[in-house]
Structures are given as C-alpha cells and as structure tokens.
C-alpha cells in the first residue's frame, strides 16, 4: 500500500541518494520458505540454501526504502537492470542472520538514472552473503554519476544446454514467495495496465531457474553470479539455456550463461557464474 501511495512521487534528478541503512537485525532462515522457493525455482534440496535466496530476505527492506521519503522515486516503473551476488560461506536452515540494505552509487544511463542498492547478510557479525542490485529509474533527464557500463559482452559462443518452462502462473507463484507482487508479473490484464501485452517473469526467477540447471547437484562454498537483464520474458514461454564453461574466472568453476527465447536468438538475461565446491 505504501508503495502504491509512493507512486505519487515523480521522476526527478537528484545529486545523490541520501545515505541510509535499513536493517533486519535477526531473521531466521526458515526451511519451509526455502523449500517453497526451491520448488518454484526448480532447484533440488541437495543444492543447499539457494544462492539467490538471501535476496528474498532483503525485499522488505527495499520496499520500505521505496516507500520512504529518502527515496526520490517510486518503486513502480523502476527497472531491474543488473544484479551481483557474492556468497562467502554457505548458510543453513535455522541460521539467524542480520540483513542490511544501504543506498549505493548513482550511474548515468541513456534512458534515465541508474542507482545501486547494496545488501549485506551477516551471521555472528561475519559477512556471509552480499549483493548489489542495480536499478534503472526511467525518464530522469540529465542523470548524474559515471556512465553505466555493461560488464558482460556476448563475445563468447554459447551452446544449447537445456530448455525450461515458464508457465502463465509463474509470476503469481514467484510473487507470492518473494513478496514482489508488481502487477506486471501477475496476469496479462494487470500487465496491460502498465504497458506490457502479457505478464512478464520476474528477472530474479528466471535467473534462479537458470541457476538450478547451472549449479551442481550438491552444496557449493564460495560463489558469485553477475546477471544483466535484457528482453522481457513474456509468459507463458519455453526459454532456452545457453552456456559455456570454457572461460577463466576467479574461482575453481566458471561459466557464462544466457536464458534466451525458445528460438535461441534473443537473450532474456546474460550472466557470469563462478563457484568453489564445498
């Protein structure tokens, strides 16, 4: 509700974001919620706590920020451009975690203002997981900050690894477990109000679904995944997963992947993945 009321804010140029920190001091990793998430993202229990799952814990913080006066823009109409996740040590169901969000850098983009939200997850004061969510506020004239640059190119040829199903209801199911009930994901009718001809999948779901096929069927230790979202995934669809592991990287296993349309010629997202086995 607060988020909808905040839609009354208008896109405006700002010099910088007010440095604020939002905290959830003690969140217990709930096994049932993780199981529901794992099922919606087609993971398997032997993969442990899903790599992107902690970002679910940050969502209430991000929404509180968007609803507040600290954030110059409303949540509606903000595009999720990119996401960078770093897992430092594995976590387990039952762990009590401290979840923090703070505002980050501003970057200039052709279509508006890019801004980062920085997430940190700590266990017993030790940083176990962190992420940078890169968002684009469309329509802001004269955005400030250094130019936004994509970190991933498409120089590396990828091979078709698998395909998966994004059914018509996946936006509703993922919306329920993530809390992100943006109408553009929920149904064709609600999506049309906001200019999309059909509902589109949450980028974070598409990424998680792809990671279920990219990650080994057992726990990993350190990992990082950087994703850049490209074309919208209109539901229902049968996206294809294209990959290569013939690349250098920071950790022992490295891969590039793209979730593309059924034909395989247009990317929905492009990502790089690195991990060490446990």
């Amino acid at each position: 509700m607060a988020v909808l009321q905040a839609s009354r804010k208008r896109p405006a140029t700002v010099e910088s974001l007010e440095p604020v920190v939002y905290v959830r001091p003690a969140v217990t990793l709930d096994a049932l919620s993780m199981a529901a998430y794992t099922q919606v993202c087609a993971g398997t229990p032997d993969q442990g706590v899903p790599l992107l799952y902690p970002q679910m814990l940050t969502f209430p913080l991000a929404m509180a920020y968007f609803a507040s006066s600290y954030c110059p823009w409303p949540a509606m109409g903000t595009v999720h451009l990119a996401n960078h996740v770093r897992q430092h040590t594995p976590i387990h169901a039952g762990d009590v975690l401290r979840v923090e969000m703070q505002t980050g850098q501003l970057l200039a983009h052709d279509k508006g203002q890019v801004f980062n939200l920085e997430f940190r997850v700590l266990k017993d004061d030790q940083l176990v997981w962190e992420a940078t969510q890169t968002l684009l506020r469309l329509g802001v004239k004269n955005p400030v900050g250094p130019d936004y640059a994509s970190a991933l190119n498409n120089d590396h040829p990828l091979s078709l690894q698998s395909s998966f199903v994004a059914d018509g209801g996946i936006g509703r199911r993922y919306g329920r477990i993530s809390g992100d009930l943006n109408p553009i994901h929920l149904s064709a009718l609600s999506a049309r109000i906001f200019g999309f001809r059909r509902a589109i999948a949450h980028g974070m779901w598409t990424q998680a679904r792809a990671l279920s096929a990219m990650l080994p069927r057992h726990a990993i230790a350190q990992a990082q995944v950087h994703v850049e979202f490209k074309t919208p995934l209109f539901l229902p669809a049968r996206p294809t997963l294209w990959t290569t592991r013939a690349i250098e990287g920071d950790l022992s296993h490295n891969a590039l992947f793209e979730a593309r349309n059924a034909k395989g010629d247009k990317p929905h997202l492009r990502a790089s993945l690195s991990y060490n086995l446990a």
């Binding site: 040829p157 990828l158 091979s159 078709l160 690894q161 698998s162 395909s163 998966f164 279920s212 096929a213 997963l241 990959t243 290569t244 592991r245 013939a246 395989g264």
Partner: protein, 433 residues
Amino acid sequence: MTQAPPAIRRVAILGGNRIPFARSNTVYANASNHDMMTATLQGLVDRFNLHGERLGEVVGGAVMKHARDFNLIRESVLSTTLAPETPAFDIQQACGTGLEAAMLVANKIALGHIECGIAGGVDTTSDAPMGLNEALRKILLQVSRAKTSVQRLAALSQFRPQMLVKPALPRNGEPRTGYAMGEHCELMAQEWDIAREDQDALALQSHQNLARAFKDGFFTDLMTPYKGVTQDNNLRADLSLEKLRSLRPCFDKKVRPEQGTLTPGNSTPLTDGASAVLLASEAWAAAHQLPVLAYLTFSEVAAVDFFDKKEGLLMAPAYAVPRMLARAQLSLQDFDFYEIHEAFAAQVLCTLKSWEDPIFCLNKLGLAQPLGAIDKSKLNVNGSSLAAGHPFAATGGRIVATLAKMLAQKGSGRGLISICAAGGQGVVAILER
C-alpha cells in the same frame, strides 16, 4: 606325437571393402543384413579377383540379427562368386564384432590353420528384428505342443487383443542397467568432466577429415557403391561449430537432467552398412601377386564391471590398450596413427583423459606412471564413426582397412586401433608396416 606345428606366421592385411554407410531409415531402409553383407563381400571378391576361390574361412556377424539370419555369413558367402567350398561362421560382440572377427581369422592364419580369410560385419537398425508379443509367442508354442483340440483351445483362450499391438522390440539399452548407451556415456562425461565444446570440436574434426578423405579419393579402392549411394550419407561436409552448438542434449533426462553435454551432433547416429577385410599369409599374398598393406601384429580384449563397480560402460579399451602395450613393449606415443572408434565424442575424450590421469593409471591400471597424451593430429585423420556413421558390426572392418591403407601410403609405421562395445567390452589392436 604327430609333426610339430609350424612357426607362427605374420598376418598380412591385403585390403578391404565396404559399402557406404547410411543413416537408418534412409536409403538402406529395406536392405537386409544378408543383402548388404553379400554386396560387400562381392565387392571385395571383384577387387581382388577371387572368383571361384576357396578361402580358408569367412568370419563375421551382425548385432541386430533376425531369426532368419541363421548362418548369416555362410549364406552371404554362398550368394557371392567365391567357391561354395568356403567355410564361414558368425560371431557377435556388439561393436567389437568386426575387429574380433579379424583377430579370429588372423589367429588361424598365424597358426597355419588357414592361408587366407575374410573378416567382416554388417548391421541395420532400419530393418530391425521385431518379435511377437512375448505372451502371444508362448501361447502359439503351447498350441503347437498341444495334442488335442481341447488343449489347443485352452491355450488359445488366453489370447488378448492387445497382444497383437505390443510386439517385442529390440531394447535400446543395457539389459543390466536399463540405461541407453548414450546415458551411460553422459555419466562418463560427467565423471571425467568433459566439456561440451571439446565434444563438438572432436565431432567437427571427424566430419572435416572424412570430407577431405572422400575429396582426395582415399576410399576409391576401399568402397563399392550400393543402392545408388557412393558416400557415407551421415557426412556433413559443411558442418559448423555454430550448428553443433545449437543442438539440444539428448541423453540428459534420466541421468543428468538439464545438465547434459551429449547431443545428436557429437554422438554417432543409428546407421546401416557392412564391411569386410581380406587377410592372408605372406605366402598366399605372394602367390596371388597381391601387395601387403600392413600386418596385424597384436590384439587385446578387455571388459569392465559397469554394473557393480560402476566403471564407465565404454571404458574397457582404456584397460585393453595398456595390457597390449605391455606385451608389445611399446609406449602410447609409439604410433603414427590412432584409430579410436567414436561411439560418442565424450567417450573418446574420456579414454584419452584417463590415460593422462596418474590416479586412474595407478589405481585402475596398476601403472606407476600415466600412459600420457597422444598427438591429436594423428587421431582419426581420415574421419571416423561420428562422421561415417556406425553400423555396429561393420566398424571394425572399416577401421582395419582404413588404417592398413594409411600405413601403406606412408610406407612404414605403426597404428593403434581401439573400439569400445556395449556390455562394457573393448577390443584393440596394432597394425604395422
């Protein structure tokens, strides 16, 4: 005791013949094992002018055999212009059939039992043997055993209409595990961490090498046309990496869901075809004024426990080769050519990787040092099964004839043959000149 047996003699390979291989259910869809084997043998007879000759023995087989293929090779010999006094028999060792047939003929020549022989093989998966529904079959046998009408009627009353539409089909898979060969190989690719790109690259190389060999006329004196076909029709001379990358993994569902690497492009297709090789003693070759291409000097067989010990189904040649090298007192690098049958690109790469792995070589092969790497530029230089296709029992003959000619063209040298087979077996051999 009767007269002492003669000294062991060298076994000469004089040449071979095959028909072009065809993807199943294409041009050879209606060709029987008998017809293809006969055409292949006759082509060999024509090339070496063996009309009316009584050969020592003809040995061969087919993996996909009909009940009517009883005495397949003998019946094929009788349909050629070889003297009908030429004996023949059938063997079967899955994909190892062709090379094993060559070993059997060679051993008889070496021991002086025969002077010359032909080793071959044929297979068709188009003209597949289908049996009656098993329950119906048993009923019909009961009827034929019955002595009274009452007994016959009692048997027939067990018939159910659905028995007519559920025939017994040849099973695609290892009887013991229920997995298809491709699924076993996908597990091997996972165990040995063989990348998709490397598999596709090997497949491309096979096609490019085979295309070049055809263009150079390499197969002119190794092949006779059949049913209007002059070239292996699985060959894609214009195959590209981009095309291979776009193929979907096909053996992932049961064993490695969504994470497969084996595709129809880097796996051999089901194929129809036949091949045959002419082997003889040097004396027989000289008497017939036929030049020797190469000598079959060593052979070895191995089998792995892919069921309890979970060794890779197609890893048997990895065990056979070092045993043979030890007997021959050679190292893995002492070869000018390597002919490794490509059941799947991943299987070739697993085998090569295992020979470079100190832990595998120590624990599984009992070797203090790994066998080491081979020079990949010497591998399947005129293409192999991924491009030519693989009629199971015909591949041995294809490889032996190809390698013998390569050694003859080079003038001297040594070649290694390695062939894996269903049931966890492997046959390997050395050809020299």
